[in-house]
Each structure stands twice: as structure tokens, then as C-alpha cells.
Symmetry: C2
Subunit: 717 residues, 2 copies
């Protein structure tokens, strides 16, 4: 053979073997794509020249036909780049840069009629996103995904912050272990979760947060989860490899697709700085732009609600204690009220008045509608009708009262996971909302899904959540979804979808072993990577024995940390979750909640370590105000809060809400202090955080009066 031909052949085969590489815009991340000798697609990712993902396979398996996982040849590659900025409707920042290099590989299977699949990679400065695409083609129209073969082959036994993989719930307590020590059966209060479908001992969910022994931070999740099931990860504890595991449907299939089709983006955020994980906008950048043209009706908001009193047991959702009702056959007026119903006309008026007095936008009322007597745990299909109030809840009177006070009532649609029922009734429910002045709804999915056999995180339910968001958007209604699949950036596409729960929220502290002090230092690195969380912070009455002597439950933070959460747990929808009476006992501390913004021009992560501490500063949208939150886990520590990076152009009054010297989340959680100082761009605050503690700071421009009266903050403090 002639040498030129030989060289050409070698080049061609290496082309096939290792087809393409791209770098991130700043050159730190490097992605390579290639095919193995068996035509299996692989990729690998390096950061500053060192591997983050070793060669990891890619692909999809199909039911009853050959899969898209091997036997590929490379048909063509394309590279491109993008650098643009866009403005979110609301967010942690008011402008986002979308800057990436893109590699698209078109693969073909000669043995299967030249079927084609595309893998699209987008490499950002702080991470990678990639997805599978099945283009329109002659020999493939409808197909069923039986599995996905995405591997993340990690380079070591990384420290991992994880919750068990599960088809139905994400309300677990986080475990922090080495990859090799992952054991989803290890307990951690899993029995407190009523409805769960754990997968296996080595299964974990995403977002998954890791830290290597070299101090590199890695976060794996997905973006734009639509028309596909959620991805869990199976950990190989010897090889430190993670493999995708999709949530099945009622008959064991994973996804029903029709070409042209694409999967969600699989995302890997990487940095040697923890703060960069939190400020990465990769997942938003990979999500589709807003489908809502006129967004003028979408408003970040703060709300109170008839809710916590049910969780601490001083009120009930249900009107009567009859154990067994049939929705269409019950004469509600004839039932004997139990005298503990939370959602009464009188109580709702109290909350409306409180909200109006203190500048809150909305009042959530749970338990307003018939059906709560036997809603829980019966797998009941005809459970709620979403339009019939209890006899003691006067819809029209409250509509007028709220309107007169310029407060919005927030609708509640607990579906009890009977989703076929909800979908049948939602048009009527929306009409009811519009007739009565509601423009926001909190939905819930507590229970086992109907259609029976489906899962909260399967394709059918993923499509349901999106259908609801779309239908509400058409009707100019905002959404807060509880117990859905964890979010993946869709709040960019549907900006009326303000928040989700989709993790273990503050409510668990009311009636279970609760959330450990480190919980809120992990959530931003995990759950919040995909979207805002309605965490419902702001509980001042920390211990439950206040209501029922002898009860052991409590919130596992100090009061000051509860304030800080309004800044560290980003959400455009924030609840002041406690009872008005408890706020009235501590009105000086409550002032922070009244002041704090829910929409931002800018966000700075001043210091952060997953599982340990976070200090965040945010500038209120269109206002010359900053808010700072610092939290710690069970370890007391000093928060370092240099104001130098906040571009302060003048003097500000800083109001510091901090733990008292002897505060402690368990022993003395409600001890706090409030101090006020003058600060400027040179100020370096140092604040002592108690065990399970925090600090909340508001900054507003100093007036001439302030300049005279207040002391300047001395750094030596």
C-alpha cells in the first residue's frame, strides 16, 4: 500500500475513533467525542487539562428494535458558537449571558437502514450540556425508549451529596458520603415519606452534587425535561461510574417518542469554585425561551397562608371528622363541623387583614374546598372537585374582602395525585378561579398517581405538569407546584411557573424528625440548580411544644437563619409561613421579611461550601437595596461578608438580624439581636453564626438623618 494511502487511512480511522473536540469559550473545559470500535458513541470532559469525565458511553435503547447505542458511523460533525444575552422575566439576575461552543455529531447505523441519531453538545465556561436528537427520517417514526445508556464515568471516589433514586418522591434527607458508600436503603428517616418508590440501593436522583479530592465541584442534572421521564443515576461503587436510569411508565416502557424528537439536556456543571456552581446559568440557557408573549401579569410575590397551623396540628384541612365521604353524594351542610377547620371565612379575613397591614401580596388558603375528610392515602379517584367550598368558607364575601384590601387570595388545588380527575375538572376549576378573582394557584400531588401505575417522575406526569403550566399561562394564572418532578429550567419557558416544592421543605419540621441544620446549605447545590423552591421559610416559633406540650418536633435552625433563608433559598414566590400571631410576638424581626425583595437585579455568592455554609448578597430589582443572607450547618462559624464586591456607591444603613451570642438551633433557637450600622463599599462585615444559625442583613441608602444618628460598622467587630 502506498504510504499516502496508509496515512490517509490512519487519519480516517482516527477521525472515526476520536472525531472531534471543542473547548469552552474560556478554554478551561474541553470536550471530546468519539466512537469505539463497536460504533458506540462516547464523550469525555476535562477541566484545566485534567479529566472530569473519563470516556463515557452514550446512547438510547429502543423497545422491539435495535437501539441507538452501537453500530454507528460518523456521518458528519458541525461546530458553532453562540454569544448572546437575554433578560429573564424574573430571576436572581436581570440579565443572563448565553455563551457556548456547540458540537453536533450526526451518527448513522449502516446495519439498520442508515437510521440516524444526532448528539448535540454545548460547552459553556462552567459546564456541559448534551442531548440526543432523532431527526425525521423514512424508517423511523414512532418508537419507544426502553432505556438510556448515558454514562458519567467519574475519576474518583468523590464526596457526594445525594438522595435516593425514586420514581415518585424527592422529599428525602440528604446523605453526604463517598460515591462508594452510597446506600439508598440506609434509612435517614425514609419511613416519614408516605408515598415513595425507591429504585435500588445504588440509585440516586439528580441534581447530584459532588466534590473531588482535588477540590473540584461537579453537579449533574438535566435541563428542559419535557415529554420524557426523569433521569436517575445508578452508581457503580467500584468504578465510580454513574449510569442513567429513566423512570418507567405503567407498563415498563420509558418514553414514547415520535421523530423528530429530542431528549432533555444532560448537564454537568464544573468549577473549582463552589460559588460558580450556584451562579451557573447553564440550565436556564439550555431551556427554551419564554412561550408567553405578554408577561405583564406575572409578578413575583410574598404571601402568608392558612397552612402552618394545620401542620402543627392546631387546625385541620377537613371541615368534619367523618371518615368516609363520596364527593358527589354528600350533603356538606349536614356534616358536623369538627371546630378545628382552618379555612373559615373569619380566619381567612384575619390573614387578609394581616397581609394588607404588612404589605404581602397574597393569602394561600388550604382546606377551603370539600373532600378533605378522606383525601389521604385511599388512592381515591373522585377525591376533589376544586369548585365546592365548605359551608364555613364564603367565597364571595372573601373575594370582596380581599379585593377591598388589595390582597389576592391564592387558590389551592391539592389533587391527591388523582391526576385524571384533575385533568377532567381543570377547565371548570380555572373558570371558578377567574370568576372569583384568583390569579395564582398552588397545586399538590400527594399520594399514588392515578393513572394507576404511572409515577410522579414518568413521562406521562412530566407532560401533565407542562400541560397545566401551559393551560394556566393561557388563562394568565401563576403556578406553584408541590410534589411534582424536580424542576429543570422550565420556568424560563413558562415564566408563570413561579416555583415548585419537589424537595423536603420546611413543613417536615412540623411533624417529623425534620430537616437537619445542614439541609439548607445543601439544597442550593442540589434542588435549586433546576429552579426556585417554595421552601416556606420564616418560622419564628421554632419548637412545637408551644402548641402541644411534650411534642418534640422543631425547626432545626435559629430564628435568624429563618430570615436568612429568604436570601439564600432563591424563589420569586416566598411565604412568611408562620402564624400571624407568632409574627406579632416578634415584629422587629418580622421587619426583615416585610422588607426583603423577591426579584433581583444581581446576585453575588460571597462564600459557599455545600453542606457547610452559604453567604449570598442580592440587589433588589430596580431598587437601591441589597439583601444578604448567611447560613451555617450545625457548626457555628463566622460569616465573612465583604461589601467590597457589591458596587456600593454611597453609604447605606445595614440592619443586621443575627443570632444572639448564646443562640443555638436546638438549645436556644429563638434568641436573636438586631443592630443597625452605617456601611459603605469598604465595609467587611463579620457575623457570628450560631450552630444551625444565620444572619439576615438589609441595606438601604443612608439618609442625612441616618448619617447623623448611626454608628459606622467597625471591621474589628
Amino acid at each position: 500500500m502506498r504510504i499516502e494511502v496508509l496515512i490517509l487511512l490512519v487519519l480516517l480511522s482516527s477521525l472515526n475513533a476520536f472525531a472531534q473536540s471543542i473547548q469552552s469559550p474560556d478554554g478551561k473545559l474541553s470536550l471530546s467525542f468519539g466512537l469505539t470500535a463497536n460504533g458506540e458513541p462516547t464523550h469525555q470532559l476535562s477541566y484545566r487539562g485534567k479529566p472530569v469525565l473519563q470516556k463515557s458511553k452514550l446512547g438510547i435503547e429502543l423497545k422491539d428494535q435495535p437501539g441507538f447505542s452501537k453500530g454507528f458511523t460518523l456521518l458528519k460533525t458541525d461546530t458553532s458558537q453562540k454569544d448572546e444575552t437575554w433578560k429573564p422575566v424574573w430571576g436572581e439576575v436581570n440579565q443572563i449571558r448565553n455563551h457556548y461552543k456547540e458540537l453536533t455529531v450526526t451518527l448513522q447505523q449502516p446495519a439498520h437502514k442508515n437510521r440516524r441519531m444526532i448528539i448535540r453538545f454545548r460547552l459553556f465556561n462552567h459546564g456541559l450540556g448534551f442531548r440526543y436528537e432523532v431527526p425525521e427520517q423514512t424508517d423511523l417514526k414512532y418508537f419507544i425508549v426502553s432505556d438510556e445508556r448515558t454514562e458519567f464515568n467519574l475519576t474518583g471516589d468523590h464526596k457526594t451529596f445525594w438522595i435516593p433514586g425514586d420514581y415518585d418522591t424527592n422529599e428525602y434527607i440528604y446523605s453526604t458520603t463517598k460515591l462508594s458508600e452510597i446506600d439508598a436503603t440506609s434509612g435517614k428517616a425514609a419511613q416519614e415519606i408516605a408515598f415513595k418508590t425507591p429504585i435500588a440501593a445504588n440509585a440516586v436522583q439528580t441534581p447530584l452534587m459532588m466534590k473531588t479530592s482535588d477540590g473540584l465541584y461537579i453537579n449533574i442534572h438535566e435541563a428542559a425535561l419535557v415529554n420524557y421521564p426523569a433521569m436517575n443515576l445508578m452508581a457503580n461503587k467500584q468504578t465510580f461510574s454513574l449510569s442513567s436510569h429513566l423512570v418507567p411508565d405503567a407498563v415498563g416502557n420509558k418514553a414514547y417518542l415520535q421523530a423528530p424528537a429530542q431528549t432533555p439536556w444532560r448537564t454537568i456543571v464544573v468549577s473549582d469554585k463552589a460559588a460558580d456552581i450556584l451562579t451557573s446559568r447553564l440550565i436556564l440557557n439550555l431551556s427554551e425561551p419564554s412561550k408567553i408573549r405578554d408577561v405583564s401579569w406575572i409578578k413575583p410575590q410574598k404571601y402568608v397562608g392558612i397552612w402552618w397551623e394545620m401542620h402543627v396540628g392546631t387546625a385541620s384541612w377537613n371541615y368534619s371528622d367523618v371518615g368516609n365521604i363520596k364527593l358527589a353524594e354528600t350533603d356538606w351542610a349536614s356534616l358536623k363541623p369538627n371546630g378545628k377547620h382552618g379555612a373559615t371565612t373569619a380566619n381567612t379575613k384575619r390573614y387578609i387583614d394581616f397581609a394588607a397591614q404588612h404589605g404581602f401580596d397574597g393569602v394561600l388558603v388550604e382546606g377551603w374546598n370539600v373532600g378533605w375528610e378522606d383525601w389521604f392515602g385511599n388512592w381515591k379517584e373522585e377525591v376533589f372537585d376544586f369548585v365546592t367550598p365548605y359551608p364555613d368558607f364564603n367565597v364571595t364575601e372573601l373575594q370582596q374582602h380581599a379585593s377591598a384590601k388589595r390582597v389576592k387570595l391564592i387558590m389551592h388545588h391539592e389533587t391527591s395525585a388523582s391526576v385524571t380527575n384533575y385533568e377532567r375538572r381543570i377547565d371548570e376549576a380555572i373558570n371558578f378561579m377567574k370568576q372569583h378573582g384568583y390569579d395564582s394557584v398552588k397545586t399538590g400531588y400527594v399520594g399514588k398517581i392515578i393513572p394507576r401505575g404511572e409515577h410522579h417522575d414518568g413521562q406521562w406526569m412530566v407532560n401533565h405538569y407542562v400541560r397545566v403550566a401551559e393551560k394556566l399561562a393561557q388563562n394568565r394564572i401563576m403556578l406553584d407546584a408541590h410534589e411534582p418532578v424536580r424542576p429543570t429550567g422550565l420556568h424560563r419557558t413558562y415564566p408563570n411557573w413561579l416555583a415548585c416544592e419537589a424537595a423536603r421543605g420546611n413543613e417536615f419540621n412540623a411533624w417529623s424528625t425534620g430537616n437537619p441544620p445542614e439541609h439548607e446549605t445543601i439544597l442550593p447545590f442540589t434542588r435549586l440548580m433546576g429552579g426556585p423552591m417554595d421552601y416556606t421559610p420564616g418560622i419564628f416559633q421554632i419548637k412545637r411544644d408551644y402548641y402541644q406540650p411534650g411534642k418534640k418536633e422543631q425547626v432545626h435552625t435559629t430564628l435568624a437563619k429563618q430570615l436568612a433563608l429568604y436570601v439564600t433559598m432563591y424563589s420569586p414566590l416566598q411565604m412568611a409561613a408562620d402564624l400571624p400571631g407568632n409574627y406579632e410576638r416578634f415584629m422587629d424581626a418580622f421587619q426583615f421579611i416585610k422588607d426583603v425583595a423577591v426579584d433581583w437585579d444581581d446576585t453575588r455568592i460571597l462564600e459557599a461550601e455545600p453542606g457547610d455554609y452559604i453567604t449570598v448578597a442580592r440587589k433588589a430589582k430596580n431598587k437601591d437595596e441589597w439583601y444578604i443572607g448567611a447560613i451555617t450547618d450545625e457548626q457555628a462559624r463566622t460569616a465573612n461578608i465583604p461589601l467590597t464586591s457589591l458596587t456600593l456607591k454611597r453609604s447605606y444603613v445595614a440592619t443586621l438580624y443575627t443570632d444572639a451570642a448564646n443562640a443555638h438551633w436546638e438549645n436556644n433557637p429563638m434568641a436573636y439581636q438586631i443592630q443597625r450600622f452605617l456601611v459603605n463599599d469598604q465595609t467587611r462585615l463579620k457575623v457570628a453564626l450560631a450552630s444551625g444559625g444565620g444572619a439576615a442583613i438589609s441595606l438601604r441608602p443612608a439618609s442625612k438623618e441616618d448619617m447623623k444618628k448611626l454608628q459606622r460598622y467597625e471591621t474589628s467587630r
Copy 2:
């Protein structure tokens, strides 16, 4: 022990062993109930003193708890009787007698907290109905039925007319074998049914028709199937016992119930006369009375439709031949029409004009709405939207044209078995109907059910069909359901529910091996026991090679038998199913279809033998007209039609539409003759029926002119 105590104990134990007996009002049927030594409920049924059902066990099994099948004691028994008459909104007769003796046994399980179950028996002159009831009680609220233990222990190897048990379809050809020869795998063209879920080789469906060697006719079915899955029967071919087998849901459970609850009625119709099986009103009498108060808008009707031309391949449902569409993303106006679309404005006008000219109430149009390009076999959820017409179907123009001609367009909602999609869209679909003047809809459920894992005949779908009937009733819309579970008398409760398909209809003759000549002599004894069938008779162009030379398919009857079916196949909704052009070729024969009524004052079964022949006479409602239909299987025979039982009070003109002398369903199916005679209450007609043939006869009062012109029928003919 003292002798009195001993006697008492013996009496008590025999009381327990064989608690109660009742007789039918005429004393011919006898039912006994008892408990076995293990506390298992049993019943046995005798006719004229001979057993029909030997001691047969009863009961229900529950999931995750002890069942309701043994360990019972008898708490109490009650007997009562009822004798009333009621008027159906429409029917084979205008008045129905409900006359029965009732036995109710209340059973208790001491070993399980005295849980209670009731079995209610109603014994009519021609049969038995019984059901299980679970009353409201402290220790049982929600429960899951895992199985039913109803046995029908027959007394011999009866001749049985059966189709295979199946969770999803009832479109099988009937087999006629001994019980011991039942083999559901034996073929009979099952592969022609696209979507089926056969159960087992020994499984059969209901209604099940049997004839003993003594000439006793027995029919087993159910009445009032609501909120429960359908019952199939498993045949024990050694003991001749049938056991209930319920259709499972997606996760393998059978029914989700909440006390107080009841099952459907299990029905056994018994007589030594085949005609009594057909005239039994037991299933209607066991169904709940009409829930619709104002029924003035409900009208039996005759219709034509753009339908058969698609089945014989001269037109298509789909507008274009694009193989793969996405409902929400397709620009329909840009698709290339295939030039064969049936549902065009022009073609629909043609049918409207034809209907108006010949006195038909309605015109069904299939294929009017977008989505037909890939509706079949893709298990596609977002398949139809029910409101978007194809570009060549002008809804408004046709609305006006139909209105001007005083003809109603009949809406078509083929769901493709994507039921979650239909339930989401049905409100919008109904609004569309009302906006455009539609007051009837034909639904279809062709395909695999979504929610995936559910079955056409499971509890969830049973509830769906009823939800649809209820919702349509609230909107004053009539319903014809195709591919649902077979009916069980619910057309009494929802009289807007005019008909179902739910069996192998005339359409199978267009594109498969078709329906053998005996098919229509079996259906009234099986499928029609539960309710009317939209069989779509009236095909004049019998053989398909008329359309495509070389094609072998044909209707397996003579033309005259097609006319007779309008009388022998009872339905308040009847289609003249052929193309107008074919009727125009045989307008003299078409006259019968134009004349025949669809609602009746009275019905007489003049002669009948399942699988062989049926001759029926019916009196048109509120008219002095009678219509007679006689059909036979592949055996040519003479129909004996004595008019003596028809209470004719005068002379009538009888128009006889009969097979020509040389007619034969296969060799010469379209040869017919029409004769007209004077008849009266002494006339005994004898009509020769060809192989696969029939005769249709209309009777109207003779005018003076008729009396002069026409010959009187001579019985010797």
C-alpha cells in the same frame, strides 16, 4: 344433651346450611341459598324442578386482607317482592313489567370484626339476577377487589355459543361448541382483530348463550356494569363449571371500591323457549331507572354516512398521505391532499341531500377532523383535537346546508383509545358541537388504551364510558359508542346512550374474512342481550369486487337479509350503511329501509333458534304499522310467519322483500323480489329464505284502493 336442644341445634345448623329458598312469581324457577360448613355462600337454581345451576359458590376476594368468600355466618335474611310496570323512553316494547321475588341475605364474618356483606337475589319468571353489596360499616371503608369467586356450576356439557374472553375486544366470530370443547386459541380469524388481549384458552366472554341437551336455553351476562370491571368466565371443561374472571387494571387490581358499594348484577336468563330469552327484560329491570328528567330531546333515528366508502377502500379518512404528523405543529393547509378524502364539503352535501330526499334524520361524517394521517396503531396520546376540521371540510357551510334541509350532522369522535386526551378535550369538543348544531355523536375506541396498562373492559374505562354518557346527557347530546365494553342495560339509566357497537359488526365484511351467515342469528342471543347494537346493516352492493376487481371480500348475506336485519337486530339508531349510489340502483328495495321504524310499541318473536334462524315482528310506536324480519344462517329454510299473534284488527298491505328463488349469499346474493299482498289476522305467511338469506315485510293498513287492487295472500304459497 336434652333432646329439644339437640333438635334445635339440628334445625339451626340446617338453617345455616341451607338458609332460604324463593320461587319466581310463576313458580317455575327456584333459587336456594346456603352456606357451606366453611361459611362459603352458595346458591343453586332449578327450573321446573330440575337443576340449572348446581350448588355454586359466591364471593369476592380482597387485596391485602381476608376476602368475602368464606367464614360467613348468616346474620339475617329478608324477602320481598315487586310487581310494577314502567315505560322505557324508547325500546322494543313501550311498557315493561318488573315482577320478581327478592331474597336478601346479610352475611357476617365473626373472625374478621364481624365484617358484613349482603347478597341480593331477584328471581323473575325467566331468570335470576344477583349482586354483592358491601354496606357502610366501621371496619371497612376503602378496599380493593382482587378477584371474584362467582361460580356457575352447570349441569352438563351444554352447547355453547361463545367468543374468547378478552380484556379489550369483543369483535370475535362466534364459535358453537360443547362447553368441553371451548378453546379460545382455536383461531376463527382472531388475527383480523388489531387490538386484543385474550385471557386464556378456557376463557369466554358474556353474554354467553347455552342450550342443554334437554332443550333448555340459558344465558349468562351482567346488568348495570358501573364502577367495576367486566366479568369474563373461565370454563372448567371437566366439571362444566364457569368461574368469574374480572378484567384487571394497569397494576393488576380488579376494582377499587368504597363502602357502601355494590357489584353489577350477575344474570342468568332461563327458559325452555328460545323466544323467551330474547323477550326477557330482566337486564333492563335490574338497571337503574333513567337519570335524565327531561327526555324530550332524545330521538331514535335513522342515518346515512360517509363511512362505508372508507371501509371498501374508495375513500380515506385521512386528507393527506403524510405518514407522520404532530397535531399541534402541523400546517394542515400546506399538506398535499390525497384526492381520496371522504369527508369533503361536496360529498357531505351529497349525503345531506340524499338523507333529506329519503327521510333520514342524520348524516354521520367520519374523517372530518385533523389527525387521521397517523391515528392507527401508534399508541399516540395527542392524536385528535375533535375541533379542527380538514381544509376541505367547511363546518359552517355544512351547518347551514344541513339546517336548511332539516337534517342533522352526526359528530364523530374517534378517540383512538387515547382516553386521557379525550377526557381533557371533551368539554371543548362538546362546545364545538353545540356551536355547530350537532346533537348526536359516534365515539370510537380503536387501539390500545391510554392510560397505558388499562383495558377497554376494566373499571377505569367502564367509569369513563359512563362519565361520557352523563356529560353528554347534561348537554342534551345522544351517544353511539363504538369499541366500548359490551352493554349491560345502562341505556335505561342513560337513555341518551342509544347504541353501542361492542361486537363484530357489518364492517368486518368489507375488509376481512367477514361475518359468517350464522353471525346475525347468534348476536340477538348474545351481544344484544345487554343493549342495542349499531350493526350498520343495509349493504346492497354485497361483493367488494364491484369496487376493486379481484377483491374477495363480501357481506355474507343476501340483500333481502340485509333488509330483515333492521327488524331482527334491534336498535333505536339504525344506519343505511351503503353508498347512496348503491341505493339508487335498487330504490325499490331501499323503500323498506325508508319505511322501517326504529322505535316500537311491541315485539313478538315468532320463531327463533340461536345460530339458525330468527323471525321477529314489531309494531311501530304510535303507528298502525308492523315490520317483520326473518333471517337464516347458511341453511336455506322456510320462515313461518303467522300473523295470528299480531292482533291485527283489519286488513293490511304486506310488502314482502324476499330472496329470489335462486338467491344464495355467496353465489347470487343480490337477487331479490318484492311482492305485495293483502293480509289479516288469519294470514300465515311462509317465506323461502335462501342460504344466508332473509325476508323483510312491512304491514300498513290497507286502503279502499288497496283492497280493490291487491291480491290476498294465500297460505298455500
